[in-house]
Symmetry: C2
Subunit: 418 residues, 2 copies
């Protein structure tokens, strides 16, 4: 049971390339997760005639149409008019909403511009739908065999309305009054295919929950999506499958849903009362940057040394010139001495180091070779990784791997890339 849904984004600025249509992708992702079929996605400018044509075409071929943009108070916002014209309806007016709007402006002590009252209009037979994050309400119209939604173009207002107003109506439209629940399990350190193989037998033929593997920069997410009469029942379908996934993937998992590696690490540092510092060569501050992207990081992050030149590794981190001579600057012994030195120089409990070659100069190693060191009060070790891709990508991978390695080392687990 699915619905053919299409999306129509309205806005001349999209056609001029002044903004990118991220709304289409965000809506597409949610539709896919809800099991809906998204076959067409169109953009037209703020032009009544072309909007009417696009809506008419959508009505002829789709079960639902989601329009974004063109519902504000200004003269070029003509989505409401276009829906009326395409469906042969007159414009209705919500006295109730108009009164609400007046009261809201009064409370702010300001007089409402008359143009705002356009937001009380909707196609006859339809209804206004709530916009919890903004002032312009959306519009819903069930026209013959097509549901038509008009939502604001601003993503922060539009996306919540997809979840609260659009998807429930689409699901009801296919006779489904149930709930759809997703759980994301976030892993690092394996390829998508390796994760897939570890879990393949669980998901063979599994339709509820469904599973999706999502690779994003350097992590693999496993998304379980279940569908049931209510949220509790959907969670009950996910729980046993999640338990198996967690058992199989073990320490490869760094978090769930909106967790990030850095947030997980921050929590662990706070719990243990530890401080952390960095000694970065090839990543040149990326690890410090990621760590301090967490508000409140000054509670556990003390600082770092960006040791790009050999002199800095020796002078500030106490790396021995003999070690560099014997093993080369991109080597596990140097990474270990950098991390051990950083613990002392920065006065921290745990330190993480990186030495590597992000290119173009190979520094005696293949370009893309990155060595991560971690020193705790008990131990210090290093791991070598080779990443594909350009400079920027190699840095991102290495930074994520370094944070992952610290998190594991704090639990006494020393990460091995399989």
């Amino acid at each position: 049971v699915t619905m053919i849904v299409e999306t129509l984004a309205v806005g001349t600025e999209l056609l001029l390339g002044q903004i990118v249509n991220t709304n289409a992708a965000d809506i597409g992702e949610r539709l896919a997760e809800a099991g809906m079929t998204h076959l067409h996605q169109t953009v037209v400018g703020d032009n009544l005639g072309r909007m009417v044509d696009a809506i008419t075409l959508a009505i002829s071929r789709s079960d639902a149409l989601i329009i974004t943009g063109g519902i504000g108070p200004t003269a070029d916002d003509v989505t409401r008019e276009a829906i009326c014209a395409a469906t042969g309806r007159t414009m209705a007016y919500s006295d109730e909403y108009a009164e609400d709007l007046r009261v809201r402006w009064e409370r702010r002590g300001r007089e409402m511009p008359a143009s705002n009252l356009r937001q009380a209009e909707y196609p006859e037979g339809g209804e206004l739908i709530a916009n919890p994050k903004g002032s312009a309400p959306g519009v819903f119209l069930d026209h013959e065999d097509t549901m038509i939604f008009a939502l604001p173009g601003v993503p922060a207002e539009m996306l919540p309305m997809i979840d609260t107003e659009v998807l429930p109506r689409l699901r009801a439209g296919v006779g489904d009054q149930g709930a759809l629940v997703s759980r994301v399990i976030r892993t690092f350190g394996e390829s998508e295919s390796a994760v897939g193989e570890l879990l393949s037998d669980i998901f063979e033929g599994s339709t509820n929950p469904t599973v999706a593997f999502l690779a994003s920069s350097s992590e693999i997410k496993i998304r379980l999506t279940a569908h049931a009469v209510d949220e509790q029942a959907a969670r009950a379908l996910i729980a046993p499958v999640e338990a198996i996934v967690v058992e199989r993937l073990g320490h490869r998992i760094f978090g769930y849903d909106e967790d990030t590696i850095e947030r997980g690490l921050a929590t662990r540092l706070l719990e243990r009362g530890w401080t952390i510092g960095t000694a970065e060569s090839a990543t040149a501050g990326s690890i410090s940057n990621r760590l301090t992207s967490q508000p409140g990081s000054s509670a556990w992050f003390r600082g770092g040394v960006v040791a790009y030149h050999e002199d800095i590794k020796v002078g500030l981190l106490g790396v021995s010139p003999l070690t560099i001579d014997e093993f080369g600057v991109v080597s596990e012994p140097v990474a270990i001495e950098m991390a051990v030195g950083a613990r002392v120089t920065l006065g921290v409990d745990v330190a993480v180091s990186v030495t590597g070659s992000a290119g173009p100069d190979p520094l005696g190693q293949e370009v893309g070779t990155m060595i991560i060191g971690v020193a705790t009060p008990d131990d210090a070790r290093a791991r070598t990784a080779r990443w594909p891709g350009d400079r920027e990508r190699i840095r991102t991978y290495t930074t994520t791997a370094a944070l992952h390695m610290v998190r594991l080392a704090m639990d006494g687990v020393w990460w091995e890339r399989s």
Copy 2:
């Protein structure tokens, strides 16, 4: 003289929201600049029937159609077939291109999969067009009153083909054999409205060159676009206007066209034979990161200290605890001592420092207060800036401002935000 152009992106992954359709925005921007009229932009999946419908509709209403995606060698790449079906043409085959392809694979010592030969196909009456950045050629077909282009979906391959293959044919289509040339002047340190005011009289009513102001993260670009019989003539139209802009904006300009602040700074450091180092608190490695994003940065970047905690500022950079007590840690005297200390600790010619409050902890200053210090062999100064926005945005602004301030200080100019 313009053409009605529409774009059609092919790819189920776009409808599923797995990737965002940046191609549409990039093509839209170039079309606008070339004076073409972009009225519709559509996405369909890798489905022959829906592609044929979309192409048929485009032929009925547009002078040109640019299709991206679906021209690779795999079975779901059916753009060529869809064009044939929509225009009632048979498929032709380029023996010449097929031979080229065979030779290329032979040179790599590998046998070519037979499926690759599909790339030698094109709709009868059309032609293959060159793809300088990839192996799949594009397709061009002049069908009755509509020009049809099929390009790869990969942006790095597609965009150069817009400039070299598509735009010249579109301009020829409106009887324009002339050239369109753009020059971008890149500035930092002023708001878009301030730059606009400084230049308003120049551009009042100017249609050739036209001017566009583009604000992107923390810089303002001024784009001059001229149109003339050939490239030289177009450049001659731009030159006098550019000269006035350069005179008015002076040191606010850090580069032209594809220049970045960091690249300009790198050139200056190399010319002068100077090394640079950083002392970062609130930006926590962002400046080191941006500097070392330049290949070859090890020639002039030695390293940095991420001095998040006060102890590190004092211990590694030699900031006086008395200065911190007297002025607070987020203060110009501390920024200056950090920069001066970094010159010594890191053994560099010029050092740049940042101390500030990116929130949530105000550290005795309003959140968003960022102080940048620069120390050269001759002088050391600091500047205070207050940026709006979230943590991430404040960091980006501050990093850009810091690089800008170093570049100016090397010329003996001390930046003041107006």
